[in-house]
């Protein structure tokens, strides 16, 4: 905006200078200069002349001063530096002649920079002119302020201009200038423009007789209303009535403002835009009138054109499109929405490229409205046709966007098929985006996951180069999370790999999927293990290093899956090209895998190379990528709306699919995964719903350790001393005591610790003996930067001696959508009770955020499992018979009493699960050693479920009383 204003000023200045200089005969011939050098010489000479004139002792008269200043301005506009003449220009301001004053202002608006020392003089001159009551001088001064538009100008005049604007005796033309000038100042420094009683009077300018004033005022009000909608609410009814007067007027009514038979198109557009700042008017009369206006505009679009000139249709369509975007904005009148959609449908085949583009773009937004979604869908054939036949690439891109927007369950297969078709011929610039869109649509609307797998494999086949990592990661995630497609995926991938030339991405997907699920198709003699292996290995040499690394991992997985081809694989790993590979990564993998396959027993192999657990469900990585590509705003909103709608329309939206995978996995290995997924489903719903969840937990667990509701008054009364004490010690602004999240981490090491609208905190940790390391991931969920981002880990005084924490500082700014990582090194010195607190402070969009979360570093993390026989166990059990060493807790089950889940939890807790120890097979028995720096504490546990009463009895015996107590507390929370 700023540049355009400057440019405009320059053009007008150049034009003015030329005409003036030509008229006076003082033409600078250099403007027709033949070569650059000649021009520079001529200008140097001219500048020397002007310098000697300005330097000269005798004072210049106004005319020659004007002439030379004008020449300087012209030379500046030719692109040469001017570093003198400012004083002369300022002198011209005080002249009483219009032309001299004008040149002075022109020079100043183009050349004077804001930090000049002359600014005081200039401001003075402007002040005089504003006070002069001479409309032309006032106009010049206002233009100058607007053209310079610097902060200094705003400081000096922001208070004055509103007065001129609303004064009763100001001329129309000055009002117009004042409104625009104020708009400019408001745009550059909104904080300097005082809001006051003038605002209400500005609104009434919409009723002004002079249409120029109304146009200028509408621009101003629109900008102001975007910032303070409340103050300008009254403008809605005024704008509607003004609009209806314009729309219904005959084209001859507004003489000067009728543009090719369209009455005041600019003003109409601006009024429509102003109305888009507000929701639909509540007053039925106003609303009716507005609907009438919009209908009239839509009707007019159907009328035959009054002129064949392109200007006529341009003006008409501009108003129409603005009206349609208002209709879309209001999104309340089904009738209008459908009409708008039909109108746009007509434009889809218009011969004007711009109209087709705009129609597609508006339709994109229309598609997200529930009223018009169906109407938009009727145009699907036209849009697909546009995709195939359109010449202009930007229009094709819009068509792709629209297809994406209008896609739902009913037409997903058709649209995806069309997009795939188009992909083969699509422009390179938009291929990647189409690939992402196809991938998302296929995932979102997949009724049948075999179709999804087919689609994605097709995608890789057609546009392998454009399939980004996220896309094929996603396929693997989905295949792994949904066991009903695994077999099919393995089969399809196997078939796809048989093509003589296949893309590297396909090899990657193939390598991964066959490595995981190759056994599912191994029964078929056509895809026996050896054939699978040979097929993959035939692609090995054509692939890049990362893919080769992946394939090596696949081979070792094969060793586990198909022991019969172990020797073949070992031979491959042993070959020099692997074992002595120049690439360190490949070499290391080959060496390690070879050793693993030779040394390890089948049991160990089976454990190491166990099937991958399901991926925690996040926001689809592809979607994130698409958003990033598009920039925030455009897709996001649409996406949000769509997601909300789609989640109730079809059950396969992302969170739902997790539930499905978690519930519908009966295999024993998946139980562990179920455990992993269960807490995540809890964390997935937005924070708003977590309130109710908290209450649920609260009511359920009255007998056991009660988790705290945030901010509940009886913090201190709560039995969970550890957490409540810490919380009360830290008077942070918001303490997110998400206890249930904390407890999830007792039995697992990775996951999401905390999440709200702004921030997501993820954890990944590993522990060995008395040492541990925790990676904390802070994800900025917004699109704006976090400033002064400082996470600190706080140990209370009690905790300090028993736990050593070392953190590395993180970068204080976190970009929108970015993630930063922090490493915490942990050393357990002696046993401890409490958990450290993670306090995070940052600045988000001007407000200071402060939150505290408990870090799930608990004593059981330092557990080392010990296997022992039944005899040993009971011997030790008896040794720890001191009543202080034993802690027992009887509690009601909070979760369904599933033996497998319980086992998994005990293992996750850290102790070894001892089978066939307890005479009663329903009981669980565990043993382990807690490692601290100072001591090692042996620990035995026994859990007796009572299915009838839905109760558990947990008994813990350790060599230290406090440890028994703490472990019992932690573990009883889990069942």
């Amino acid at each position: 905006m700023l540049t355009t204003i400057k440019q405009k000023a320059c053009y007008s200045a150049a034009l003015y200078c030329l005409t003036f200089l030509n008229k006076t005969g003082a033409t600078l011939t250099f403007c027709k200069g033949k070569s650059k050098e000649a021009e520079i010489k001529r200008i140097n000479k001219e500048l020397a002349n002007i310098r000697s004139k300005f330097k000269g002792d005798k004072a210049l008269d106004g005319y020659s001063k004007k002439k030379y200043v004008c020449k300087l301005l012209f030379i500046f506009l030719l692109g040469h530096d001017i570093d003198f003449g400012h004083m002369e220009a300022v002198n011209l301001l005080s002249s009483n002649r219009y032309t001299e004053k004008q040149i002075g202002y022109l020079f100043i608006s183009v050349l004077v920079n804001s930090n000049s020392e002359l600014i005081r003089l200039i401001n003075n001159a402007i002040k005089n002119d504003l006070a002069s009551r001479n409309p032309t001088f006032m106009g010049l001064a206002l233009h100058c302020i607007a053209n310079v538009g610097s902060r200094e100008m705003a400081e000096a005049f922001a208070g004055e201009i509103p007065k001129i604007l609303v004064a009763g005796d100001t001329m129309d033309s000055v009002k117009q200038s004042a409104a625009l000038c104020l708009l400019r100042l408001y745009r550059t420094s909104p904080d300097l423009v005082p809001m006051g009683d003038w605002t209400s009077r500005v609104v009434h300018l919409l009723n002004d007789q002079h249409l120029g004033v109304v146009t200028a005022a509408t621009s101003l009000i629109t900008t102001l209303a975007q910032k303070n909608p409340e103050e300008f609410k009254t403008s809605v009814s005024l704008a509607v009535s003004r609009l209806s007067r314009i729309v219904t007027s005959a084209s001859t009514d507004l003489q000067d403002y009728t543009y090719y038979f369209v009455p005041a198109p600019w003003l109409s557009v601006k009024l429509l835009r102003l109305l888009q700042c507000y929701p639909p008017p509540e007053d039925p009369a106003v609303r009716g009138r507005l609907t009438e206006c919009l209908e009239t505009i839509l009707n007019k679009a159907q009328e035959p054109p009054k002129s064949k000139k392109v200007q006529h249709s341009n003006a008409k369509n501009a108003v129409l499109f603005e009206a349609i975007s208002l209709i879309i904005h209001h999104d309340s009148e089904p009738n209008l929405l459908v009409r708008a959609c039909n109108q746009l449908g007509q434009f889809l085949q218009h011969r004007e490229t711009n109209l087709r583009y705009l129609a597609l773009e508006s339709m994109c937004t229309l598609a997200s409205s529930e009223f018009s979604h169906e109407a938009v869908k009727t145009h699907i054939e036209t849009v697909i046709n546009a995709l195939k036949t359109e010449r202009d690439v930007s229009v094709r891109q819009r068509a792709v966007d629209l297809l994406y927007a209008m896609c739902d369950r009913s037409n997903a297969q058709q649209i995806v098929a069309e997009m795939l078709n188009y992909l083969e011929t699509a422009d390179y610039s938009i291929r990647e985006e189409i690939v992402l869109k196809v991938a998302i649509l296929a995932e979102k609307y997949a009724v049948d996951y075999t179709w999804y797998v087919d689609t994605i494999l097709n995608l890789i086949r057609i546009a392998g180069d454009y399939v980004s990592e996220e896309v094929w990661y996603r396929v693997i995630q989905i295949v792994i999370n949904r066991d009903d497609v695994q077999g099919y995926a393995a089969k399809t991938v196997f078939e796809a790999l048989q093509a003589p030339a296949c893309h590297e991405n396909l090899v990657k997907v193939g390598g991964y999927i066959l490595g995981e699920f190759g056994n599912l198709i191994a029964g078929d003699p056509r895809s026996s293990p050896l054939i699978q292996f040979n097929l993959l290995h035939s692609k090995f040499h054509l692939c890049s290093v990362p893919t080769r690394a992946l394939l090596l991992s696949t081979y070792i997985k094969f060793v586990n899956l198909f022991p019969e081809i172990k020797t073949t694989i070992q031979d491959v790993l042993r070959s020099d090209s692997q074992l002595k590979n120049a690439d360190v990564e490949l070499q290391q993998r080959a060496v390690e895998y070879l050793r693993l396959s030779t040394i390890a027993s089948t049991d160990i192999l089976a454990t190491v190379l166990e099937e991958m657990p399901p991926f925690p469900e996040r926001e689809s990585s592809i979607l994130a990528k698409l958003k990033k590509k598009k920039g925030p705003g455009t897709v996001t909103d649409l996406e949000e709306i769509k997601k909300e709608r789609s989640s109730d329309m079809n059950g396969s939206a992302e969170p739902a699919s997790v539930n499905a995978s978690a519930v519908s996995t009966p295999s024993p290995s998946a139980d562990l995964l179920g455990l992993g997924a269960a807490p995540l489903t809890n964390s997935a719903p937005p924070p708003s719903s977590s309130g109710s969840l908290l209450v649920d937990v609260f009511s359920d667990s009255a007998s056991a350790v009660a988790p705290l509701a945030p901010g509940s008054d009886d913090n201190f009364a709560s039995p969970d001393l550890a957490s409540s004490e810490v919380v009360s010690e830290e008077p942070a602004d918001t303490v997110h005591d998400a206890d249930e999240l904390f407890h999830k981490f007792v039995c697992k090491n990775n996951g999401v610790l905390f999440e709200n609208q702004l921030l997501q905190i993820g954890l990944k940790s590993e522990f060995r003996q008395n040492l541990g390391r925790m990676f904390i991931f802070y994800g900025n969920k917004t699109s704006t930067q976090f400033l002064n981002f400082t996470p600190t880990v706080i140990c209370s005084d009690d905790l300090q001696p028993s736990l050593n924490l070392q953190t590395k500082p993180v970068d204080p700014t976190v970009d929108g959508g970015a993630q930063v990582q922090q490493v915490v090194n942990i050393e357990c010195v002696s046993d401890f009770m409490e958990a450290p607190i993670l306090n995070i402070q940052f600045r988000y969009g001007g407000t200071f955020q402060n939150l505290s979360v408990k870090l799930p570093i608990t004593l059981n993390k330092f557990f080392q499992p010990t296997e022992m026989s039944s005899q040993d166990f009971f011997q030790r059990w008896k040794q720890l018979s001191n009543p202080k060493q034993e802690v027992q807790n009887i509690f009601k089950a909070k979760h369904p009493m599933d033996a497998e889940i319980t086992k998994a939890k005990i293992i996750g807790f850290g102790s070894a699960l001892l089978e066939e120890v307890d005479p009663n097979p329903a009981n669980f028995v565990g043993a382990g050693i807690i490692h601290t720096k100072t001591t090692q504490i042996g620990c035995l546990l026994r859990l007796e479920p009572n299915l009838q009463a839905q109760m558990y009895r947990l008994t813990l015996r350790t060599s230290k009383e406090a440890v028994s107590q703490r472990l019992c507390e932690l573990l009883s929370e889990q069942f």
């Binding site: 140097n44 000479k45 000697s52 570093d83």
Partner: protein, 439 residues
């Protein structure tokens, strides 16, 4: 190798377009790419090599004419430019100044030349003398079989630059040593950098196939001789007494036998007929600086500047320097200048932002002075004046590098003239290159 050669006028219209290889693709595309990206580029393109879509364009500009060589391969850029310069020389030799008019009038000839001197993009014989024997501007007289076969053997033979059977009544040769001396000196008179780049240009009008031997006071040669003749006491004095110069690097015309130069450092050759450049060289040591400039600049307040410049000539009083011009830059906010000088004429040239002082002639070991008062206009620009250096132009009748021609012997065993019968002329001209003194 060169894929094609285009000649454009200043508007970017193609005058000549000759494609040697198909790899540069569509001829139109290549032609347009260069026009759009170089000739009509928004910013002036300074690099002589431009890469557009994996195609390299090498260009030189002669007045308003652009010559561009195009290739897709990784060629030796120096070779391409050498070829382009040679092409310019050939064209100048055929039709004088390279201008749009001349190129349009001679386009058949130019295509003929291009066919001859480039074959599948490989440069061929580009010796003007040889080319002129079979590419003529007049109609070719019907040649006898014998003559035709001679052309072939001559062009493809060992000595492609000279044909046999040349006869002159007077055997004459001219030798010009042309040097340009470059200097950057500090205000205190300390030499910051100085070098001389020189050329030896020869014009020969000799009969037959004469064998020439050129000798100069090259340090290595003199020292070698000094050693070789150390026994002969008389001569060794003579050898060491003569000043010798150290040549940093030199290049020769293709007629010089490089093997002989490498082994004995003697320059022997069979010269082409007419004018040619025998060698090019550069020296950086013991340079005779013909002039010394002593500047004195005093800023009096913000609005006045006093400048005094003294020049001293530093060579034998018997010699005369000519076309002396001293250029004293003035600040950009100069509003008036008064100049007083003893000798020559001085003038403030506003268009060039400099005081230009011209002296027609000046003998050695003299000095002259100029003083100027410069009035300044106060500006709101805080930038200080950068004080660009004072530059000088001149021409002196000796070689500032100290190079001397010791001998140029001519042997023609087949014809009956000896070295003594050849009339030889030697001339030295030293010109200023970039000759600047900081102030």
């Amino acid at each position: 190798m060169i894929g094609g050669l285009f000649i454009y006028n200043h508007k970017g219209e193609v005058l000549i377009s000759r494609v040697y290889r198909d790899d540069i693709g569509n001829r139109r595309n290549a032609v347009d790419a260069f026009r759009v990206n170089v000739i009509h580029a928004r910013q002036q393109v300074r690099s002589p090599v431009t890469n557009i879509a994996r195609t390299s364009f090498f260009h030189v500009k002669r007045s308003n004419i652009w010559l561009a060589a195009v290739t897709k391969q990784n060629v030796n850029a120096a070779m391409v430019f050498e070829f382009l310069y040679k092409m310019c020389d050939v064209m100048t030799a055929y039709f004088g100044k390279i201008s749009e008019e001349n190129i349009k009038n001679n386009f058949v000839l130019i295509y003929e030349l291009l066919d001859e001197i480039l074959d599948f993009g490989y440069p061929q014989n580009s010796e003007t003398g040889a080319l002129k024997t079979f590419i003529t501007q007049q109609g070719i007289k019907s040649q006898t079989k014998e003559e035709q076969s001679q052309i072939t053997s001559q062009v493809t033979g060992q000595i492609g630059w000279r044909r046999e059977g040349i006869k002159y009544r007077r055997n004459e040769l001219f030798l010009d040593v042309l040097e340009s001396v470059n200097l950057l000196m500090s205000p205190q008179g300390q030499v910051l950098s100085a070098h001389v780049s020189g050329r030896v240009v020869m014009k020969s009008y000799l009969s037959g196939m004469p064998e020439c031997k050129f000798g100069m006071n090259d340090k290595i040669v003199i020292e070698k001789q000094g050693k070789g003749t150390a026994d002969e006491t008389g001569k060794s004095e003579l050898g060491s007494g003569k000043q010798s110069i150290a040549i940093d690097d030199c290049t020769f015309h293709q007629c010089v036998r490089l093997s002989k130069f490498d082994s004995e450092r003697s320059i022997s050759f069979i010269p082409p007929d007419g004018e040619f450049e025998l060698m090019r060289y550069r020296t950086t040591k013991d340079i005779i600086l013909p002039f010394r400039v002593i500047p004195l600049v005093r800023e009096v307040g913000r609005t006045k500047l006093e400048v005094k410049v003294v020049i001293k000539s530093n060579f034998k009083p018997s010699l005369l320097a000519q076309k002396i011009e001293v250029r004293i830059p003035t600040p950009l906010n100069t509003s008036g200048v008064q100049v007083i000088c003893m000798k020559g004429k001085a003038k403030y040239k506003a268009s060039e932002n400099a005081i230009v002082w011209k002296i027609k002639r000046m003998a050695g070991m003299k000095e002259s002075q100029i003083s100027a008062e410069i009035e300044l206009l106060p500006t709101n620009d805080k930038k200080k004046w950068a004080r660009p250096p004072i530059s000088m132009n001149f021409e002196v009748p000796f070689a500032p590098s100290g190079l001397k021609v010791r001998y140029l012997k001519v042997f023609e065993p087949k014809l009956n003239y000896s070295d003594h019968d050849v009339i030889k002329w030697v001339r030295y001209i030293g010109r200023s290159g970039i000759y600047e003194t900081r102030c």
